[in-house]
């Protein structure tokens, strides 16, 4: 009796805490999403309007330049820039990361630990601190305010972490797989593409998704290395809204939703592999 009562209290407490947790995690985001579907007037209304009275897509139409009262912020250009920059830098970072991750997973060599630590430490440098010299150098060599300039930076930003993750995934594949393939007549290169790569594929994909999100979400460097629609990305564009005297909360929320959606979709796709990769890479080193 006493035991079962205590169990009941325990389970009520568990679910109660979980509920509070989910509220704290979800409500701010949901509020932004709700706001994206209502006019700015409703946001400013007093007393507050909790449920949108007339949910519509006007804000999205506005920021994408449709309809009568469009905003002066070229969101479509930002969106294209973000997409091009994130995809290109991810692809390159993956190739470099695969090559480096494979080296760490499969070979012994001098300075191995030192190199690994060095790679990690290079990721440590705060974006804003790194942006200063890059700003100065990029200005001189004409990379400032170009997509290429940002792509190069993002590749470097993503390489260390991609190597960490991919190293972990390759480590999970027994070395004997590749050896068996080589005895079976493969070159090392064939053994990699026919055996090890297919086995690590899903892990590599999630490393790619993580790299994509890093580039997609980055702000500190992008905000200082871009200036115009040639290269400005969505996170930088979001700040355009605050530059105006009155904040267009609704428009900003619509743009936030556009930035969030890829993140949410990709989160669903990677979660399992990502956790496995992080823990494996870390614990089994």
């Amino acid at each position: 009796m006493d035991g079962s009562l205590r169990k009941k209290i325990g389970s009520v407490a568990t679910w109660g805490l979980t509920f509070i947790l989910m509220v704290v995690i979800c409500v701010p985001g949901l509020w932004v999403v709700l706001t994206a579907f209502r006019p700015n007037g409703e946001v400013l209304a007093k007393p507050p309007v909790w449920i949108p009275e007339d949910p519509n897509l006007n804000n999205f139409a506005k920021i994408f330049g449709f309809g009568a009262d469009q905003v002066a912020i070229p969101v479509p250009a930002y969106f294209t820039n973000s997409l091009i920059i994130a995809l290109t830098s991810t692809a390159i970072a993956l190739l470099i990361g695969m090559s480096g991750g494979y080296a760490f997973a499969r070979y012994r060599f001098s300075f191995k630990n030192g190199l690994f630590l060095g790679l990690m430490l290079s990721r440590t440098v705060p974006g804003i601190a790194l942006s200063l010299p890059i700003f100065m150098i990029w200005s001189r060599i004409g990379l400032i305010d170009t997509k290429l300039g940002l792509i190069i930076v993002y590749v470097a930003l993503n390489v260390p972490f991609t190597i960490w993750l991919i190293d972990g995934f390759f480590r999970q594949i027994p070395k004997e797989m590749s050896e068996a393939a080589q005895v079976d007549g493969c070159t090392r290169w064939q053994a990699f593409w026919k055996i090890e790569f297919p086995l690590a594929k899903s892990g590599i994909a999630s490393a790619g998704i993580f790299a994509f999100l890093t580039s997609w979400n980055e702000y500190a460097l992008a905000s200082n290395l871009t200036r115009s629609t040639d290269s400005k990305t969505l996170p930088v564009g979001l700040m355009d809204f605050t530059a105006q005297f009155t904040i267009d909360w609704a428009g900003m929320s619509a743009m936030a939703v556009i930035i969030i959606i890829p993140a949410l979709i990709l989160t669903f796709l990677v979660q399992k592999h990502l956790i496995a990769g992080l823990t494996f890479g870390g614990v089994k080193g």
Partner: protein, 364 residues
């Protein structure tokens, strides 16, 4: 279908030398087993033959060709790995055919050879399964199938049975033996299990600490171990090795117990020599429970500390002059701890080793 020859083969990792210049000639179609405790360099040696490890010094040749600088794929060998290394993303059929496909054999030849291998190993209904759906024994068979489809010059086995349970291990051991009789090929087989070595090998290579201790047929290695290491490593339960001194024509233990020196060794020992007295448990048997002919046997009265019933025989734990020793009782009856029995010692089967060098006392 080729001889393999190792000449002064050395393996170094950085400054650490793990294989110290070994020499070995393996003949055509011979089944050679490299056996030794872990860390003795046997797997490293095998991997150097396969081309999976660089050869630091010396040469390895397969057939007439020195293969030191050839990658594994050009050595025309196949290998069965300890954990089988089946490709998890391919079916059994694809696993078997992979090597042939890589070599760009036409599809019909691939199919024919895969089916042939499947038949030899009885893989019939497993062909479309994924490795994850197979039992340990089945995986083992697929790994062997993958090795035979390519008709290689030599098979290399790296502890292929160590991941199986005891019963399956015995069964697969027989299958490997049968396979070798069906598919005549040179085999190099690495194991730490001396029973596997004894049962499978045409010739056994006993290794320790990166050196070859002895090469010989199972009978030679068992009956004529060159030193105390081989004597203790081959045979189960292991040979009793007891410290003693030669006095005249007797081997005397520290408590004064004395046994005659075997007549075949009488001229080879000198008075006062410190020796290790080697006696297999099979040759130390209670009177009436032995298999050795009793004519020249010496007698010892020993107290039993413990007995282990194995069914057809019993292992008796006792001590000779304070040193632990094991004997065997064939046609056993119950033996209580503390019981005192009279034992026969098959003197002509005794081995003597020099106590300093550990080397067997024998005619050079």
């Amino acid at each position: 279908m080729a001889e393999i020859s190792l000449k002064n083969v050395v393996k170094r990792y950085g400054k650490v030398e793990v294989v110290h210049g070994i020499n070995l000639d393996i003949e055509h179609n011979e089944f050679v087993v490299l056996v030794g405790p872990s860390g003795c360099g046997k797997s490293t040696t095998l991997r150097m033959i396969a081309g999976l490890e660089d050869i630091s010094d010396g040469t390895v040749s397969i057939g007439p060709e020195v293969v030191n600088d050839l990658p594994p794929r050009k050595r025309n060998i196949s290998m069965v790995f300890q954990n089988y290394a089946l490709y998890p993303h391919m079916s059994v059929r694809e696993n078997l055919g992979f090597g042939l496909k890589i070599a760009k054999h036409p599809d019909d030849i691939v199919a024919e050879r895969v089916n042939e291998a499947a038949e030899i190993l009885g893989l019939g209904e497993l062909m479309e399964r994924a490795p994850a759906e197979l039992s340990g024994g089945q995986r083992q068979r697929v790994a062997m199938g993958r090795a035979i489809v390519r008709h290689p010059e030599a098979f290399l086995f790296d502890e292929p049975l160590s991941n199986l349970d005891a019963k399956l291990r015995v069964q697969m051991r027989t299958e490997i033996k049968k396979l070798h009789q069906k598919v005549k090929t040179t085999v190099v087989y690495v194991t730490h299990d001396q029973v596997e070595a004894m049962t499978l090998a045409d010739r056994i290579v006993v290794m320790k600490d990166g050196y070859i201790e002895q090469v010989g047929t199972p009978m030679e290695v068992f009956n004529h171990p060159v030193n105390t290491f081989v004597a203790s490593f081959i045979g189960s339960p292991p040979m009793n090795l007891l410290n003693a001194t030669i006095k005249g024509d007797q081997v005397v233990f520290s408590d004064g117990t004395a046994l005659p020196v075997p007549t075949r060794l009488a001229d080879l020992v000198r008075d006062g020599q410190e020796v290790v007295f080697g006696l297999r448990p099979d040759d130390l048997t209670p009177v009436g429970h032995g298999i050795a002919e009793s004519g020249k046997n010496a007698k010892l009265t020993l107290k039993i500390a413990l007995s282990e019933l194995l069914g057809t025989e019993t292992i008796l734990y006792t001590s000779i002059s304070g040193q632990e020793a094991q004997g065997k009782m064939f046609g056993p009856r119950n033996v209580e701890p503390g019981e005192v029995l009279e034992f026969e010692v098959a003197i002509e089967k005794v081995h003597l080793f020099d106590a300093v060098t550990g080397k067997s006392v024998r005619k050079q």
